[in-house]
Amino acid sequence: MAFYTGLFDALGLRGWCDADAQDGPMTMAQLLARSQGGGEVTVPWWNPPFPSLDALHEACNAIPRTRDLTSGLEQLFLDVRDGLRVVLDPLTQPLSWLLDGALWLFVSSPWWILIPLIMALCYVVSRSVSLILAVAASILLLAFIDHYDYAIQTLSIIFVCTALCVVFGIPIGIAMSKSNRFQRGMLPVLDMLQTLPSFVYLIPLIFLFSVTESKLYGIAIILYAIVPVIRLTDLGIRLVDKDVIEAANAFGMSGRQKLFQVEIPLALPNIMAGVNQTIMMALAMVVIASLVSAPGLGVLVLRGIRNLELGVGLVAGLGIVILAVILDRVSKAALARINTSHSTG
């Protein structure tokens, strides 16, 4: 006899409750109760169970259980999944190709070509010799302890995902800065993306795509890391000196000329600060994404946790820290270079 039975009887709903009574599988609580002696547990009147779905279900079969809710959601998701996949699969397929292609390219290039290339790239963006020496030392250290391949995989994923974040994030940020309406619509989405715990991202994605596809982690990383570049592009363009914009208008610039010759160049320090944050967030996510088969240093960390291989986990963690430091330093150096050439009068 459940606690709330009397309530439904009193309301005269008994008929409705038992109409199509077909007891579903039992809940864990019921199983436990049964195994503990089967008999009715008497509930003291001063401590009624919270009238939750499960408690009410016990008294009235017509009321669904919480488990029905979650499984219903799951069913709904599975039902729309096929439809969604028809659209999303081809759309996101290039992402898989990009990620796989970059991985293949990075991993199969000989180290004595790739390391100088990375150093050259660092020099181009930062123009700092001491910095590239530090970068080279870090990579050589990682290679020396046989973590080169893992580090390069991580780098290649970050590289592709950051590039895509920039490609999509900057136009979105520009659109937001041009339209207050669009900005109002986007802000809650960005807030949500930024506050959702990173694991939660993975759940709907696992349903949508198979775990063996690289686009799964690609999407997770991009969704997580794109927020700062969008926000700071929007902010940067809105912060451009109104007087300068007025001058651009007064000399007859078109909207396009204004955007490319005035607004973006002047917003560049902010945009680059966004790119720096995006890189760091991509790195954070690429480690978590090893849960869904993203290769790289994250895999070693995961192995460390799963198999309690403390040393493996720690060394991989150290590798991630080294990568984080060099990525941060290089992008900050690029930012500083832009700032000095932009210092406003």
């Binding site: 000196d241 007087d243 300068v244 007025e246 001058a247 651009a248 208008n249 007064a250 000399f251 007859g252 610039m253 078109s254 000329q257 010759q261 005035v262 160049p265 002047l266 050439s341 932009h342 210092s343 406003t344 009068g345």
Partner: protein
């Protein structure tokens, strides 16, 4: 003097004389209204029924920016718009290149209504016909001085070499030779504004709009820049609209002076005329502090007397300032002088009139003889 008398003075004495003397005005502004707020057109109805700026803000929550402005801007002259902060000067000048669109009224440039212009035509107007100099310079901080100076040509799609040649020429002209490859933040304020002027000149436009162009500069540099502007103007004869809240600057530069207050024109005309016949206590206040001897000119104070009189103490140019005359007379107040214009006598200046003109009208109680224009 009553307001109606002042208004009639403003409308009859000046525009008539000026328009008949010269060709049609370069820019003419007709019945221009600008109201800031949610429903400006509705608010315009109230303004037309006589609601003032303060009341409009309190009762209807709209800001009256400009109210029934009628100004003709003569070709090849410097028109100065003066008024206290918030009187609507910046709002007015931004209507001339439509950085702001009016609530009602007309702006004609070369007798074309620019309010009918589409985006394309408007951009062409801003690139080729009008250029602007800003109070805060508004240079592009990421471009060199040369690129800044050549902005309008660059925007208009002109080639790099043409742009550089013109930019270099005008940078030289404003005294910035050798700074072509510097960035704006490496220059002082005065030099930055020279770049601003070079940028306006490089566009080769006939009209230059200058919004408090010299207000951010310190007094010495400011005088330099005023001299530079006058020097350039002697050579180039641009149509210049210059905004200032400084009367000395206005009197130094203006061929035509427009005084704004709370969004309407209180008085406009030749500066000498305004000085001698302020239409309103607001303007009397404005003009009471300046050195009249240095600003007033003989032509404004002379009388068409008997130019053949024998007792004249000497000849004096019609454009001389009263200060010059006092210096020449050695302080003697009983003399009279023959006033000469381009070698011909045009009138007589009595020292007694001169002395009277030195006293602001409000204090003297009655206006001295008018002789504006």
């Amino acid at each position: 003097m009553t307001m109606t008398a002042a208004a009639s003075l403003a409308t009859t004495a000046d525009p008539d004389a000026e328009t008949s003397a010269r060709a049609t005005p370069k820019i003419s502004i007709r019945n221009l209204y600008k109201i800031f707020g949610e429903t400006p057109v509705e608010a315009l109805g109230h303004v037309r029924q006589g609601v003032g700026k303060v009341e409009l803000l309190e009762r209807f929550n709209h800001v009256l920016g400009l109210s029934d402005i009628n100004v003709d801007i003569a070709r090849g002259q410097i028109t100065v718009i003066m008024g206290l902060s918030g009187s609507g000067k910046s709002t007015l000048i931004r209507h001339l290149n439509r950085l702001i669109d009016p609530t009602a009224g007309e702006v004609r440039v070369d007798d074309e209504d620019i309010l009918t212009y589409g985006e394309q035509a408007l951009r062409r107007l801003r690139q080729k016909q009008m250029s602007m100099v800003f109070q805060k310079f508004a240079l592009l901080p990421h471009r060199t001085v040369m690129q800044n100076a050549g902005l309008s040509l660059h925007v208009g799609g002109e080639g790099q070499d043409v742009m550089e040649k013109e930019a270099r020429r005008w940078l030289d002209r404003v005294g910035l030779k050798g700074y072509e490859q510097h960035y704006p933040h490496q220059l002082s304020g005065g030099m930055q504004q020279r770049v601003g002027i070079a940028r306006a000149l490089t566009s080769n436009s006939e009209i230059m709009l200058m919004d408090e162009a010299f207000s951010a500069l310190d007094p010495l540099i400011r005088t330099d820049m005023q001299d530079l502007l006058l020097e350039l103007q002697q050579e180039l004869h641009k149509t210049i609209v210059f905004i200032t809240h400084d009367l000395d600057e206005a009197l130094k530069l203006a061929d035509h002076l427009v005084i704004l207050k709370d969004g309407y024109v209180v008085q406009q005309g030749e500066p000498q005329g305004i000085l001698l016949n302020p239409a309103d206590p607001y303007i009397e206040d404005f003009v009471s502090d300046i050195n009249r001897a240095r600003v007033l000119r003989v032509r404004s104070v002379m009388a068409p007397g008997d130019i053949t009189r024998a007792d004249l103490a000497g000849e004096i140019d019609h454009n001389a300032t009263l200060e010059d005359v006092i210096a020449a007379s050695g302080g003697e107040t009983t003399h009279s002088y023959r006033v000469m214009k381009e070698g011909r006598p045009v009138g007589v200046l009595r020292m007694a009139d001169l002395v009277k003109a030195l006293v602001p009208r409000a204090a003297s109680g009655q206006g001295p003889r008018t002789g504006a224009g």
